[in-house]
């Protein structure tokens, strides 16, 4: 099953990437043309760059803020409240990304909650159609990704903190460490594994984002939020440039591995 539906197609992707094929007629060898195009066609290169920008929102921000939040509420143990909080924070992670895309399209729309909130605090001048704005569309898509992964990261990091030996904190305090020093000396090293997991999931979600972008912006305005996932879909089925789509797909798979590898190495406890 795995061989037929995963490994074999993967091999085919690599093979297709050296051909020019419209999916129906005969294919012609294209050498490295498809690969060269990724780095010369601004639209294709742009999509890869956008994916990396999204890593910031899907990974760096949730892990960073998750760490801050988790260490601030570290000692909070209030029974049922704690469980409720954990469940609520987890919700975005279990929803269909398609629904998240629709929810946030509505949040970011001209009449949506984001603009309503800005208006309520007297910032009407900042209101805009966020997903249609050239400057803010990509960060807005990023916020959706942040929303999807933030709660999960926080919960994971919190549970990680719970597993750190309390004596380490006591030792740090005896050494006269402040909150910040304590964070860097004890919390951060103790959470390496959890951070790696969050970063891995976030990075894969960012590089392989399709659902959210397809629903919320379809890559627009302009080519501002085009990501490889949507580009592959369009190249294959709309433009019928199978070879080009495959080259991008293989590159995407390789990039994911390339970014994940160091994260995983850093995360090792040994």
């Amino acid at each position: 099953m795995y061989g037929v539906f995963v490994l074999y197609p993967l091999g085919q992707s690599v093979q297709f990437s050296f051909y020019e094929w419209d999916g129906i007629g005969p294919a012609t060898p294209a050498g490295l043309d498809n690969w060269r195009a990724i780095f010369t066609e601004p639209e294709l290169l742009g999509s890869v760059i956008h994916a990396f920008v999204l890593i910031f929102f899907y990974t760096v921000l949730p892990v960073g803020l998750g760490l801050v939040a988790a260490s601030l509420i570290r000692e909070l143990r209030v029974g049922t409240f704690n469980t409720t909080a954990r469940v609520v924070l987890f919700i975005p992670q279990v929803l269909p990304p398609v629904a998240a895309g629709i929810a946030w399209t509505w949040m970011f729309s001209t009449d949506g909650l984001v603009n309503q909130a800005l208006g309520a605090v007297g910032l009407e001048s900042l209101t805009r159609a966020w997903l249609g704005d050239f400057t803010f569309a990509l960060p807005a898509v990023g916020v959706i990704g942040f929303w999807l992964s933030f709660g999960f990261c926080t919960v994971l990091l919190l549970s990680g903190i719970g597993k750190i030996d309390p004596s380490l904190y006591e030792a740090a305090r005896l050494d006269g460490a402040g909150r910040v020093a304590e964070f860097f000396a004890v919390t951060l090293p103790g959470l390496r594994g959890e951070i790696a997991v969050c970063a891995t999931i976030g990075t894969i979600a960012a590089l392989a984002s399709f659902d959210v972008v397809q629903i919320a912006t379809q890559g627009g305005p302009g080519y501002q939020t085009m990501v490889p996932g949507v580009e592959i879909y369009r190249l294959t089925f709309l433009e019928q440039r199978i070879g080009q789509a495959s080259a991008l797909a293989v590159l995407l798979a390789a990039l994911v591995l390339l970014v994940i590898w160091p994260i995983q190495r850093l995360g090792r406890h040994e």
């Binding site: 020019e20 005969p26 249609g132 997991v197 019928q240």
Partner: protein
């Protein structure tokens, strides 16, 4: 697919290099060039105008807004031919255009399918050559301009000449809707006769604190005024028509397009467009326009039935004004193309249905009532009724006017398969946001066109 990526920590024992040979093996396993299929023939060997008595099901795939119309047409057809069951399936327009090539090359193909552009479909012999049916049903006796955009040459690229591959129940037509009471506020009592007068109205609307133009910039509405401006400045429709029809060497990167882009950009700079133009789609735009946002709304006759209901008689329609009074009007048009896939097993029935929707009086009436599209068909066919003075009748009159003056041109969006989604939408968005210059815009449109044509 986020949840399945949680890496169990103990899983990282094996090293990456071990996996490499496997990927290589998988690669070797799939050698040989893909896609070597024997070419199909696209011309039916025998055609019949009889559809027999045996029970058959005709599967029709159209875009979702058209489902109601085709269900009605299907029922009318079934009444006439009780052995036929017409089954209509709807898919949203973007998915439909994206999916059609793979759909009709698959195993279970529909018998009739709605197309936006021909792309590679003719070259790949996926569509039935309708010439024998046109002959059999006498379509060849009708005014032929209505079939120009669905004729494709033997090379599979150039349109406007060659064999017939599609026909439809009615025609789209673009122009300008306007809000009569807002227009009265700026002293505009009748539609502007020239482009200059129109631009003056835009300015007056702006000065009066009104939104001059409602446009659906999210999904391609900016391309309508752009093409109209281009045709005005070029003084002829020839360049854009050749380009749309993929004539060899066609080039749209001309001063007329650069000027058109300059004007459109200046409209945006002057504040004539909605601030959120790039996030308005073609369902929001008419809704907001009908609520009184915007003096003008460039769009097509397919919006007329909705705007007639929603606008309460406040909305009028005029054709995009020419440069000078008395110059011929121009507009974009396209038939709602239906094509018969080569792999359809019911091509005779499908062709009979195509003939029915173009000629049957009731069917022609339904097409106008439900979609606002005026039918063409035989020159002596009676026009469907519309309430005199209504918005729909206004668009029908405009269509007749243009048929006579030969001012109908295909949409630039339909020139290649991806022109609409991958070039015109993003590029016009860049243009009105001031992120690209008119010259760059014009060059980019031509470049994408050539890339696609080369393929």
């Amino acid at each position: 697919m986020r949840t399945n990526n949680t890496l169990p920590r103990r899983s990282r024992r094996p090293s990456w290099p071990t996996a490499l040979p496997v990927v290589l093996t998988a690669l070797l396993a799939s050698c040989g060039a893909p896609g070597a299929q024997s070419p199909l023939s696209d011309t039916p060997t025998s055609v019949s105008t009889s559809i027999g008595d045996a029970p058959v099901t005709l599967e029709v795939l159209v875009s979702t807004p058209d489902v109601a119309l085709y269900e009605e047409l299907g029922e009318a057809f079934q009444d006439k031919h009780p052995n036929v069951t017409v089954q209509v399936t709807g898919e949203d327009f973007n998915s439909l255009t994206t999916n059609v090539p793979r759909l009709i090359s698959g195993t279970e193909v529909p018998d009739l399918v709605r197309l936006a552009s021909f792309g590679n479909l003719v070259e790949d012999r996926l569509l039935t050559n309708l010439d024998p049916y046109a002959e059999a049903y006498g379509w060849t006796e009708w005014p032929q301009s209505q079939f120009a955009s669905t004729r494709v040459d033997d090379d599979g690229r150039q349109r406007g000449t060659g064999h017939l591959y599609g026909a439809g129940p009615g025609f789209g037509l673009t122009g300008m809707y306007y809000n009569k009471s807002l227009a009265a506020q700026i002293g505009m009592t009748e539609p502007p006769a020239t482009l200059d007068a129109f631009e003056e109205s835009l300015e007056k609307a702006k000065d009066a604190g009104l939104l001059p133009l409602m446009v659906n910039g999210k999904d391609g509405g900016l391309a309508y005024p752009l093409q109209n401006l281009q045709m005005n400045y070029a003084g002829s429709t020839q360049v854009v028509q050749d380009w749309n029809y993929n004539k060899p060497g066609a080039n749209i990167d001309t001063p007329a397009l650069v000027d058109a882009a300059t004007t459109l950009q200046s409209w945006s700079e002057e504040g004539y467009l909605p601030a959120d133009v790039n996030s308005i789609d073609q369902t929001q735009a008419p809704a907001r326009f009908a609520e009184g946002e915007g003096v003008f709304f460039p769009s097509g006759n397919w919006q007329a039935p909705t705007l007639q209901d929603a606008g309460g008689g406040e909305i009028g329609f005029f054709l995009f004004p020419p440069e000078e009074t008395g110059d011929p009007f121009t507009a974009m048009t396209a038939p709602g193309v239906l094509a018969i896939p080569t792999k359809s097993s019911q091509s005779d029935v499908a062709a009979a249905f195509l003939d029915f929707i173009q000629t049957d009086t009731g069917a022609r009436q339904s097409t106008l009532d439900l979609l606002g599209l005026p039918p063409a068909g035989p020159s002596d066919a009676s026009l469907p009724d519309s309430e005199p003075g209504s918005l729909v009748s206004g668009t029908v009159e405009s269509f007749q006017l243009l048929l006579e003056s030969d001012g109908l041109v295909d949409f630039m969006s339909n020139s290649t398969a991806s022109m609409h989604a991958n070039t015109l939408i993003p590029q016009t968005q860049l243009l009105v946001a001031g992120k690209t210059s008119p010259a760059e815009f014009s060059a980019a449109v031509q470049k994408d066109y050539e890339d696609e044509a080369e393929k």
